[in-house]
Subunit: 205 residues, 2 copies
DNA sequence: ACCTGAACACCGTTCAAGT
DNA sequence: ACCTGAACACCGTTCAAGT
């Protein structure tokens, strides 16, 4: 992106500080956090926030950019180093967990995928493409059911992430993953116990 | 409920008219519709709305009450008249569709199930119980996978309803149902074509 | 009993005025 | 080039004053 180049020193400082403050507030209050509040706590005029982040999505994009990149890279890495079915399942799990980092981000991501003007559009499309590659690889290997595409996978991740974002259901997030995602993806019979193998992944995302 | 009894004639009239207006506005703007707007368009003071519906959930409950009752009754009817697996699947599909009637209602329903003070609590708990009965009946018959309970079923419905509520995914709602709900529920192998039987149900809720 | 609407504390967004 | 904050049009919620 172009945010790094050609900014005046004071502007650059405001930008960075704004982002740092926003990270905390969005982590606490979710994607709907008050922009006024962010500007206030950053000790900056409201117009300054709008100058650097003309839209809420632009701010979220700046907050999520590196994580999106990580997840895309992670998909490619898993695709090379792990059996197809396991790679797919692991990646979907990691995506689901990540999306729960900031409350309410799932909805924004789903909306962004169909709005080319959204600041999050590119990242989400890229993520979907990365997932689609893992999915078709698994399908080719008979490790995932046919008849589904990248959008279905994206929806599956979004649905699970949304469920995990609901206070009433968050404690069951892992179980819901087993009950919903595993059978939806599995090409072979997965009613048994083998699929629960990597249940205890570190949460250190 | 007690809303019908002992209301003064003018109050009763306001109550009914408020509800009628609210139905239209919530249908158009979703569960987050402006309460001020509802009162305004009903030609009533804002305090009057709050008197009759002390909370947004109370208003939604009044709007949804009869549909909730219908769905619960429908579960019992299906449980008596249709084979276990088909009854479960049909009911889940109908619930999912209904929840899409008003935008954003899914989130409120999921939240209500863990908040006993919510006006929607009773209806949602009842709905979950009705689903749980269909589920365990199907499980006993080997027509649904074991290891899931009413809350899982409620979450599955909520997740699918939420996906169907997203503009970007709404067109795929039926397909997502086949890809996600069917395998999640199915006790036997459902990769084939048989499960797509009642795909063309009338949308006449 | 019931209704009204002003009052309060918030929003998002824009934009003239300043440096 | 960048920043500020008042201004505008909205919210949800409460509550004194009216009938």
């Amino acid at each position: 992106m172009c945010h790094a180049g050609g900014m005046r020193a004071d502007a650059r400082k405001n930008y960075d500080h704004l982002l740092e403050v926003a990270r905390g507030i969005v982590a606490e209050h979710g994607a709907d956090a008050s922009l006024r509040d962010i500007a206030r706590r950053a000790g900056v005029g409201l117009g300054t926030l709008y100058r650097h982040f003309p839209t809420r999505e632009a701010l979220l994009e700046a907050l999520l950019r590196s994580s999106f990149g990580d997840l895309t890279a992670r998909a490619e890495h898993l695709g090379r180093s792990v059996p197809p079915g396991e790679a797919l399942l692991t990646w979907v799990r990691e995506c689901t967990r990540f999306t729960t980092t900031y409350h309410g981000v799932t909805q924004v991501m789903v909306a962004a995928i169909e709005e080319p003007d959204s600041a999050l559009h590119a990242s989400c499309v890229e993520l979907r493409a990365a997932g689609a590659r893992l999915l078709s690889r698994a399908q080719d290997a008979g490790a995932a059911r046919p008849g589904t595409d990248g959008t279905d996978l994206f929806a599956l991740i979004a649905g699970l992430a949304w469920l995990g974002d609901q206070p009433a259901l968050a404690p069951r997030a892992e179980h819901l993953f087993d009950v919903i995602a595993v059978p939806a993806l599995g090409g072979h019979d997965v009613v048994g116990a083998t699929v629960h193998a990597d249940h205890e992944l570190p949460t250190t995302g």
